[in-house]
Symmetry: C2
Subunit: 329 residues, 2 copies
Amino acid sequence: MVTINDVAQHAGVAASTVSYVLSGKRTISETTRARVMASIRTLGFHPHAGARALASNKANVIALALPFRQGMHLPVLMQFATAVVTAARAADHDVLLLTADEGAAGVRRIANSAMVDGLILMDVETHDPRVPTLRELDRPSVLIGLPASADGLTCIDLDFTGAGELCVNHLAGLGHKRVALLGAPQAVYDRDTGFARRTRDGVLTAARSLNVHAVARPCEPTYAAVLRELTALPNVTGLIVHNEAAVDHALTALRTLGRRIPDDVSVVAICPDEVAERATPELTSVPIPATEVGQRAVELLMSKLDGNTTASVTLLTPRLTVRSSTGPA
Amino acid sequence: MVTINDVAQHAGVAASTVSYVLSGKRTISETTRARVMASIRTLGFHPHAGARALASNKANVIALALPFRQGMHLPVLMQFATAVVTAARAADHDVLLLTADEGAAGVRRIANSAMVDGLILMDVETHDPRVPTLRELDRPSVLIGLPASADGLTCIDLDFTGAGELCVNHLAGLGHKRVALLGAPQAVYDRDTGFARRTRDGVLTAARSLNVHAVARPCEPTYAAVLRELTALPNVTGLIVHNEAAVDHALTALRTLGRRIPDDVSVVAICPDEVAERATPELTSVPIPATEVGQRAVELLMSKLDGNTTASVTLLTPRLTVRSSTGPA
DNA sequence: GCCGATCGTCGAAGCGCTTCAACAATGGGT
DNA sequence: ACCCATTGTTGAAGCGCTTCGACGATCGGC
């Protein structure tokens, strides 16, 4: 292994000088800097992460706690993860992967071992058992999702209530009077996962204020279940689907029931653009801005690591893209 | 922060004794061990990962390089990842997440900084640019997938050739004489990704030796593309689908074309059980044993970290589960 | 032409842990 | 009763890096 001393010797300077060249925490003459950099390159020097963490009290690593739970749509999760890793790397940090298995204990272990400087928790539930642990730990952290109380925490998420409202507004604007929300599986509501409920609340609230009749139905993502639900809702002319795995099934089921899109029923989905664009017909949709959420989460965390305080809750404004699955009532 | 010295003082022993209690590398009397453990618990001591890495020259962290590329089925990727993290934790290691963005440079950086003890690369292509880097780095590593040459490497994967053969054998055994493989998007073959080609080869080889007529078609996972392909194959009575995102589309398309499953056409899919079971009808399938591959990959890596040598290629035997989508010709 | 500031560099201390050599205290074997 | 092994514990060295205080050199101001 090539150490900072090897570099120093090769460049004819002190080890501390090499360190300062690398960190920029002291002014270094241009000539020295160039000489050191050259030595670093020829020797192929990479600082030892452990030594660095020990001496500087910073690991330059953040933890990402992914849930891997049933009912979450995995591609979106991956988008989050990719965005987080990419953004973290841009800020010179690496990402340690944590799964739900270890739960609160894992969070505690990682934080106490000084292995990470901060953490990002994904898919936070309304009553998430990891949140109390996080509070007592006082390591900088960012939550994706909204727990019951965000006091003293930093949370970020899509404004799902707003997304639900947006869908209803769009349909109401087209003249639809009877709409339905095809939601997540019952298990997701039972688990108290915020985003599913918030969407439902948004839909119902907006419908009430616009004098639109709305029903919200949980739904398993199987063709049979979707068909059953849609068969039971013959009068609905506007359908909001907030369940990615059920989107294709819903389209097939409507086709089977002889209901044309958008002539007989307008469909708007809350799902990634990718899913909306691949469907036939292409779906009017409110995308979940996974990449943006991931990036913002990292930004917030880095800001906290720099000692800044941040807003306790950041809600991203939902946007609706009109495609060919919605039309006048 | 509570250090090993705090623990030592609290327990009335030397710091080295605490270290030996933790590592078990020296015999310690039961009474001392108990006293030390008690102190550790009361003080809430967690060893500093950086210090440990520095002193012992082991980070107890492995890197997992995920591709996040188009054409990979993400839920399977997540299964891999979960299995890897879980297995690694069981072996007292954490997992650092690497994405494809950084490519070979990322692999080099991580390895040289002593941040990880070994690496697992997922979705390795036939001519993967990371492989040469890995070779010169000489850190223990395990590849999931098969590069052109596995010499001196440790690779593990499902035997996709065998999976293709297995599907054809099953269909031929039911009396089918004309079969088709609906494969991955063209881009995946172009990229020289091994698994797609190996499946195709297995299908074609088995068909030839069983005197079955077979065609293999790449396919985009859109309803329109799938419908087009299936319309162009009116005589086929056995369909093999190796493209998870296209599975549902294929079933819908067959239904639309008025071809009943399994009466008119038998369908066998190479996909996770989850997808096969959710489909209507439930699909005869060859699952990709993501969890097992992940576990085995970690086992192999741990073995290498312990200084053992391992087989250069491990291929897992595919298994076919018969469900209701296949029947006699 | 002298003094204080500024700039660039250095040496040494120390981060928290592991591990090695060494030593004290036992416990048979003879 | 003596010696040698074994067992249990210790102190100290050192892993590779950052950072602090110090020091010589350069420079502008009077």
